[in-house]
């Protein structure tokens, strides 16, 4: 029967990637805890698993290389070789090569040249040629003659045969299948009934078999019991070998890419809950439908309730489906111990990594897009933040620097912080550099905080020399942009000589927003509810013009700049008098602004669609959504509007 195994390749690649990650994490820990036997076992198992599975799928190079790796790891865990920094280095590099081998196996391209060299290195490190993988023993059977021969077979199983789950009748059956057999039982060892243990085997057999099969093939029938039975096959007694048939190498016809970012692993409990919810939703919906089908006005109340229930389940379903895409940020964090080790070594620094909150979950898309920014921050911290061991010693700090990665939830957001205990930011030098780069005027007055935020400006760097590690620090503006593209924000906190912390705030769910629908002219806009403080219709005396700055609205003692949305967006046919339209007070970054619109249409939960995906970012616009009538509506960005508003008032000053 032809069974095609290629459908399982994806799982194999995914699993192997996980095993490799385990192996790497284990090796990094091993450097600090070289005598942890459980750790050594775990590392060994990871390599062993990859070896076993790769053989089954016919990935020869992977199997061969992993075998060499496994031999070394075996000796390591048996205590025959010591854990050294150099050894861990070799093993880490082997892990890297293995990753490459797997990628090539998936693509069907041949192994890279380094494989042979690294393999010999592994052999040398394990103190001698690694034993070649047990070759699949070749069939030694010579082509049979067609003539039948007779054999006299003697079979006396050991007394505990049954306890191995073996039934001797099955063996007799298999013998009989080889030709013509006549079996005679030998009950001479059978004890009296009273002392008979039914779970012990007292019988033996003599079988006369006429067959065209070879003696070896006959012996093969006894493969599982040969150690625990007396077996005789006359006229010959060949040493039978279990004929393990080599697997034909699976031909990778097309590049079956290992499941990368296009798939998810989801806990079955999450899926079960979703299935339950859908069930409830279907019931709620059919109940509503039943009411509608037999509707009369007196049932309106019931209908409302049924709709409310449907809405409840829909909302919960929404949230849970979103959570399916949630991944722990630990997936991104897990790369860093290795990265830190390599970068620190490259720069001659000693750095220890601490992580907290790895289980904090984020949308999969966000997690993936945070990978590069975080990598940059980590590199930066090691390159520019943490001092050399000598310098640290002079400063009375521990020689080993600390890099801390932390993630936690905070009021509907996820905070991710990268901190180091290095030299911190120098506001003075930043100011100076900013002036040199033309980013600020020479006599500009800046608070320390404003100075620190300058590092996020494009074209800024305080690095004295270009290091290829973090590339001149030019990435900070990219980090900020990436974070903003995810609707997040980034802030920096620092202490001269004490270290720096870069904090990133990310919204928890990108895709669903509670919004307020606003009408301006012929257009409908959505304002995120979180940005709205209140909405008012001011009296004429509350609105004043400030010379050269535009209009302001006085609200309970606060004076807020008034922004006319129709002006900002150049929309015709809108209400222009704040006393006739609706003024929405919005808040962003601690500042409040009054926004004039025509009217409020209602509150609604909307699905956020990206504007940037196919167009680009537009200031004042956070994204778009599709309204119930199928028309797109823009979602306003309070921060962008506030900025634009102050831009207008600034322009009018000039």
């Amino acid at each position: 029967m032809q069974i095609d195994l290629s459908r399982f390749r994806d799982t194999f690649f995914q699993e192997s990637a996980e095993h490799l990650a385990e192996m790497e994490a284990g090796l990094l820990r091993l450097e600090r805890e070289p005598n942890d036997t459980e750790l050594l076992n775990a590392i060994f198992r990871a390599a062993h698993s990859i070896k076993g599975a790769s053989g089954t799928f016919g990935f020869e190079d992977v199997a061969r290389f992993t075998h060499g790796l496994e031999s070394l790891l075996d000796r390591l865990r048996a205590g025959q070789i010591a854990v050294t920094h150099a050894l861990v280095d070799t093993l880490l590099r082997s892990g890297d090569l293995l990753r490459e081998l797997l990628a090539r196996a998936a693509a069907g391209t041949p192994a890279p040249e380094q494989m042979a060299a690294l393999l010999s290195e592994l052999e040398r490190a394990s103190g001698g040629a690694a034993s070649a993988p047990a070759p699949a023993p070749a069939r030694t059977g010579a082509p049979e003659y067609a003539t039948a021969k007779a054999y006299r077979i003697h079979f006396r199983p050991s007394i505990d045969l049954f306890q191995q789950g073996m039934d001797p009748l099955l063996i007799l059956r298999d013998l009989a299948a080889l030709g013509h057999a006549v079996a005679t039982a030998d009950a001479s060892q059978l004890p009296p009934l009273t002392s008979l243990d039914p779970e012990q085997c007292y019988l033996g057999w003599t079988v006369r078999l006429e067959t065209t099969k070879t003696a070896e093939e006959i012996r093969d029938v006894f493969a599982f019991v040969e150690d625990s039975a007396e077996i005789g096959v006359e006229p010959e007694a060949l040493e039978a070998q279990p004929a393990a048939v080599p697997v034909a190498a699976a031909e990778p016809k097309s590049a079956a890419a290992p499941a990368g970012t296009a798939s998810l692993r989801v806990a079955t409990s999450k899926v079960d809950k979703l299935i339950d919810l859908v069930g409830e939703l279907v019931i709620a919906q059919s109940m509503a439908k039943a009411i509608v089908d037999a509707f009369e006005p007196s049932r309106l109340h019931q209908l409302r309730e049924a709709m409310a229930e449907t809405e409840r389940y829909t909302r919960e379903l929404q949230e849970r489906v979103m959570s399916v895409r949630m991944l722990p940020i630990g997936q991104v964090f897990s790369r860093f111990p290795r990265l830190v080790r390599d970068v620190a070594a490259q720069l001659g620094k000693r750095v220890r990594v601490e992580m907290a909150g790895e289980e904090t979950e984020l949308d999969k898309g966000v997690v993936e897009r945070m990978s590069d920014p975080l990598t940059h921050l980590v590199r930066n911290a090691i390159d520019h933040g943490i001092e050399t061991p000598e310098e640290r010693r002079r400063l009375g700090k521990p020689e080993e620097g600390l890099l801390r990665l932390e993630a936690y939830h905070q009021s509907g957001n996820v905070m991710v912080a990268v901190s180091d205990d290095g030299r911190g930011l120098n506001a003075g030098r930043i100011r100076q550099k900013a002036v040199e780069r033309g980013l600020i005027a020479e006599n500009a007055v800046l608070s320390n905080e404003q100075a620190y935020n300058l590092i996020f400006e494009p074209g800024f760097s305080t690095a004295e020399k270009v290091s290829d590690v973090s590339g001149r620090g030019v990435g900070m503006d990219v980090v900020k942009r990436n974070v903003q593209a995810l609707n997040g924000s980034v802030a920096v906190d620092t202490q001269a000589g004490g270290g720096t912390t870069v904090s990133i705030r990310l919204p928890l769910t990108l895709a669903i927003l509670d919004g307020l629908l606003l009408k301006v002219g012929a257009e409908t806009y959505v304002m995120p509810l979180v940005s709205i403080v209140e909405s008012i219709r001011p009296r004429a005396d509350q609105v004043r013009g400030v010379a050269g700055k535009g209009d302001v609205v006085a609200v309970r003692g606060d004076v807020l700049p008034l922004v006319r949305l129709h002006e900002l967006f150049a929309i015709p046919a809108a209400v222009t008098d704040p006393c006739c339209g609706l003024t929405v007070i919005m808040e962003s970054g601690g500042q409040r602004t009054a926004l004039l619109v025509d009217e409020l249409l209602g509150q609604q939960q909307v699905v956020v669609k990206s504007l940037e995906a196919h167009y680009r970012k537009v200031r004042g616009v956070l994204g778009a959504t599709i309204l119930g009538d199928g028309r797109p509506a823009l979602i306003l960005d309070a921060a962008g509007l506030a900025e634009a508003a102050h831009g207008i008032s600034n322009e009018e000053t000039a």
């Binding site: 029967m1 069974i3 195994l5 459908r7 399982f8 390749r9 799982t11 194999f12 699993e15 775990a42 198992r45 062993h48 698993s49 070896k51 076993g52 599975a53 053989g55 089954t56 799928f57 016919g58 047990a134 699949a136 023993p137 049954f162 306890q163 191995q164 789950g165 073996m166 039934d167 009748l169 099955l170 059956r173 298999d174 779970e199 029938v221 493969a223 599982f224 150690d227 625990s228 279990p242 393990a244 048939v245 697997v247 034909a248």
Partner: protein, 121 residues
């Protein structure tokens, strides 16, 4: 009435493959990803055959086999070890623990079914 096979292996791809092959062969399959889970799967369920990997976390194959053989209803159940090497130590250890036989990885699916046929009535 289809026979039930318990497969115990910490590799998901291995389990997937074995399950698929066994189902093609007309068997019902239950799974565990280590010896401990394997024992759990055996509670209150009748299985006709057990396939187990040897190298697994939490509880390895040999321990698993020894353990299951202490259960009266499982003393006569055929147990096959899935092993990457075919050497004496493995065979002896396995047999001592109570294994019926073994299959060497890598193996072809039909070979698996053939070996299974040998230990099942």
């Amino acid at each position: 009435m289809a026979k039930t096979v318990l497969i115990v292996d910490d590799s998901a791809s291995m389990r997937q493959m074995l399950a698929f092959t066994l189902q093609q062969g007309g068997f019902d399959v239950v799974e565990g990803c280590n010896g401990q889970e394997g024992l759990g799967q055996l509670d209150g369920r009748k299985v006709d055959l057990i396939l187990t990997d040897l190298n697994m976390p939490v509880m390895d194959g040999i321990t698993f086999i020894k353990n299951l053989r202490t259960r009266a209803e499982l003393r006569g159940t055929p147990v096959l070890m899935l092993t990457t090497e075919s050497h004496e130590t493995m065979k002896q250890q396995g047999k001592a623990a109570g294994a019926t036989g073994w299959i060497v990885k890598p193996f072809q699916p039909d070979k698996l079914l053939a070996v299974i046929a040998r230990v099942l009535p």
